[in-house]
Amino acid sequence: MRDLTDFDEAGLAAPPLLETRGLTFAAGGRRLIDGVNLTLRPGRRVAIMGPNGAGKSLLLRLMHGLLTPADGGVLWQGRRLDAAARAAQAMVFQRPVLLRRSVLGNLSFALRARGVPRHLRPARAEEALARARLTGLARSPARRLSGGEQQRLALAMALAGRPWVLFLDEPTASLDPASTHAVEEMLAEAHAQGVTTVTVTHDAGQARRVGDDLVFLQAGRVAEAGPVASLLDAPRSGPLRAWTEGRLWLPDR
């Protein structure tokens, strides 16, 4: 397999924030992630695309340290990924997990977990609510929120910790255009402040907007990786070509 570590030309100078080396994950007798090598450089935004079941969510989980690889590993600033490293990361799950509390209760919980001192929490929560446009719903039970509202709350909770790296798993899948736009602006803002984002998306337009580099996954492997525009404009691999044309890519299954 090609070594893809160096696709990130622009960021070559900066030392890598996170690297995966031969990352492999297996379950149910299948290699669901299969020898993935990636490098995340500070401030460089990555978009991940790929068909359903390609392993995008698993890859995010592995990079975030939520799953233990069967083989290979994840390096955080050159060292083993541990809980302390995870404190500098945050993730928005594809299917938001919200506590059985109010919207505000969820946010306060996240702030507290992230070590925000008690006296700072109300202001921070207020601010996050406003940014997620949930102020009016602060006292509503979080699990009764609409799909889009839940997704916005999950994003607000992730951002509350002011992470260095933000993993986003289809963060705008249930959002209306205005919210999608707002989220993309939040990402741009975060990027401007130096946050490194990794966004899984099925929307090529979004990939261009929120990614500098694109990783295209297919059946647990990196089919193609490189600067987002050049890849999408001139896909070289079969899977990505099929994808951009909206075709089904069925190599062996």
Partner: protein, 235 residues
Amino acid sequence: MPGLMEAFWDALRLIALGDADLWEIIGLSLRVTMTAVGLSCLIGLPLGAVVGAFRFPGRTALSLILNALMGLPPVVVGLGVYLMLSASGPLGVLQLLYTPTAMILAQMILVTPIVAALTRQVVEDLNEEYAEQFASLGVRRMERVAALIWDARYSLLTVALAGFGRAVAEVGAVLIVGGNIDHVTRVMTTTIALETSRGNLHLALALGAVLLVIALLVNAAVMAVRHTAQKVAYA
């Protein structure tokens, strides 16, 4: 069974008339049981939650042991506490044998595994949903436990009520360590046992009905509190 209804009305009449002895017995029953269940929850909820939420060496063994301890025979617990507290036992100097404190201790030993084992299951189910979010947020261990217990609180109420049921109905242990001493350690269940051995079966049964009514009232009170809390809810 005509004698039965009669005995039941007699028992009710005693209560209504404020029979001092009966009220004393009911009061002690509730005091001992409530204290024991409260303390059991204080230990059993976090213990069960820890076993349910974390993976650590010996976890399977521990949850197996908790499950098995739900089958701890009251008489055995009573004996164990008796041997500890008896004058010649290691804790004899405390002079706790045949006091309500000893009864509370025995019931705690009985009820804590029940609360812990059932809590483990409830928390394990909830943690399956929460675990990744907690790990992602970097929630500290003790906060995780607290959050799981808090979010599962309505289910855990039923667990606590199961513990209450076991404690309030229990006779074997409190008889041994309390001694069923009149005006000192006599509770509802030991009174029922006494009336049974006296052959006053109907009176015993009537007292049992009274005990059940008490249990019903306690459960209703707990449920009412729960409903109110659920309405106010979502802090």
